[in-house]
Amino acid sequence: MKNVNKYGYFFIAPFWIIFLIFSIYPVALTFYYSFTNYTGSGVAEVVGLANYKRLFTDTYFVEAFFNTWKIWGINFILQIGLALILALIFSDMRMKLRGLAFFRSIFYLPNLITISSVALLFGILLDWQHGSLNMILLKIGLISEPINWLNEPTTAQLSVSLILTWMWFGHSFIVVMAGVSGISKDYYEAALIDGANRFQTFTKITLPLLKPILLYIMITSLIGGLQLFDLPMLITDGIGSPDGSLNTMVLYLYNQAFKYNNYGYASAVAYGLFVITLIFSAIVFKGMYGKERKQARQV
């Protein structure tokens, strides 16, 4: 029989041609630019490590780093907390709740909407004087004077965090629920017979067995969170107002490159962001699996 294996190359060729041109080459080119003072036109002059040195001392970048973390962190804690509580409630065998499909769909809905639309919508809903949110809160009597949501650094960051939670807790809930339904019912029955209460069942059975799923959520959310861009850009003026509190790392990258034409420096920002993502993904991995390996060795 003739050798057909060479056909393998034909099958993967289109992918690799496009991949080399549109993925690998741009990444390499950006790497090269990060050592230059390229401004988008003219010649790129090699400046060595100057851009990276600037990166470490750039207070705006450092600020953007912490902003991104604050906004993502608050959102993640709320989002995963809500997802776990919901999963706990819906998977409780004794409770037998109904309407899982309905609630799951409703909770997931905000996730599908284009972030730009979400940003615009909340930009005007949260408006200080004319925003519907303040009007409702005033009407109910929860607040006595309008809150300037998007004009105070703290409330602006909190607002963006809460919007992210609103967008993503349904998604996390679905993923956690998928993990929970994958856990064998036998464990729960055994726990029931042994007289374990709900809290014990949750901490001793559900949580440990959900670890891979939680890791998956955390890593994907972290990578997505560090790339936060659309929402902070469109909800205020696009450069991180108020007071730079919504200046995230990718927003900073975008503005450096396409607003101020600092292509060289922006390339260094991109690589800084990449390294940060790698480091924190590794930490998450180690934090969740490192312990396990140690335990396994002890046993």
Partner: protein, 306 residues
């Protein structure tokens, strides 16, 4: 008369239950009542959460029908009458349907191209042995971890040098190489398509590409459909790429047009703003109404299988 019998029946029922073992059961009914209360509370909280999830959209829809002055003067859930007025004010400055059409063209092409070529690549990786295969596969997986922003500036420069800025080519063609989809489809086809089936087709004299099109593609279809949903949503919602690549307003995709809307004269009229946002949101909501079950299952499958 009827009501009476119902009550009587209930009483009878309770007595029946109580009778055989009077010492234990009252407590059990108490527990039952307690769990019933807890259950009701949970349902109330869940309903509240559902309302919170939906209320921003409701505000949007209501405000889209109200005039600017009405919105400025206060909030109400009663729809106004300024819908058409808002619509024409918006259309005067921004044609949102163009954005719609552009987004649709791009997203459909992206979904088709990424689905077809990823299936092709996945098949190549799964059923042929050739030199460098493992290296290429691992290399692809590593590149999968690289965030899209890393190559953004290089990508812009490349597009500029190729003369394809302000066209749809940089938004469509690169999706021929979608590492994650390839990875997912390869996992899928390795477990669903047995090599003996391919052998049989070969003995029947089918060419390699014919085997791919007539044997592999139909088997891969469910996985391709799952991935297509995410590819489509991802492309539809993509903001930063078209923002960087496109300059002409008539070529803008919907997300970019939204940003444009914010900076335009329309922003002066809140009713028109709400309407513009609503038009960008409502079709997705309608699509979700029909596809929600499928989408939710896809997310579950995608995360558990890995």
């Amino acid at each position: 008369m009827l009501g009476k019998t119902a009550v009587e029946k209930e009483v009878q029922f309770e007595e029946e239950v109580k009778d055989p073992n009077p010492g234990v059961l009252p407590q059990e009914t108490k527990e039952k009542n307690k769990s019933k209360i807890i259950k009701s509370i949970i349902y109330i909280v869940l309903t509240l959460m559902a309302i919170i999830c939906f209320i921003p959209f409701l505000m949007m829809l209501v405000n889209a029908t109200r005039s600017n002055e009405a919105i400025l003067s206060g909030f109400t859930l009663i729809p106004g009458t300024a819908l058409m007025e808002n619509y024409w004010t918006m259309m005067e400055y921004v044609n949102i349907w163009t954005g719609f059409k552009n987004s649709l063209i791009i997203s459909v092409l992206v979904t088709v191209l990424s689905g077809y070529f990823s299936a092709l690549t996945a098949y190549g990786f799964a059923f042929y042995t050739f030199k460098g295969k493992n290296f290429l596969f691992v290399f692809m997986l590593v590149m999968m971890m690289v965030p899209g922003q890393l190559g953004l500036i290089g990508f812009y420069e490349l597009s500029k040098n190729l003369g394809i800025l302000d066209t749809y080519i940089p938004l469509i063609v690169p999706t021929i190489a979608s590492p994650f989809v390839v990875f997912f489809l390869r996992q899928y086809i390795q477990t669903t398509l047995h090599p003996s089936l391919i052998e049989a087709a070969r003995i029947d004299g089918a060419s390699e590409f014919k085997i791919f099109h007539t044997v592999a593609i139909p088997i891969m279809m469910p996985a391709v459909a799952t991935m297509s949903i995410f590819t489509f949503i991802g492309s539809w919602n993509n903001y930063i790429m078209p923002l960087v690549i496109l300059f002409s307003p008539e070529k803008y995709t919907l997300p970019v047009l939204m940003g444009f809307l914010k900076g335009s004269q329309v922003a002066q009229n809140l009713g028109s703003m709400y309407l513009g946002i609503a038009i960008s949101v409502v079709p997705i909501m309608i699509a979700f109404l029909f596809l929600s079950k499928y989408i939710v299952n896809s997310i579950s499958a995608g995360s558990v299988k890995e």
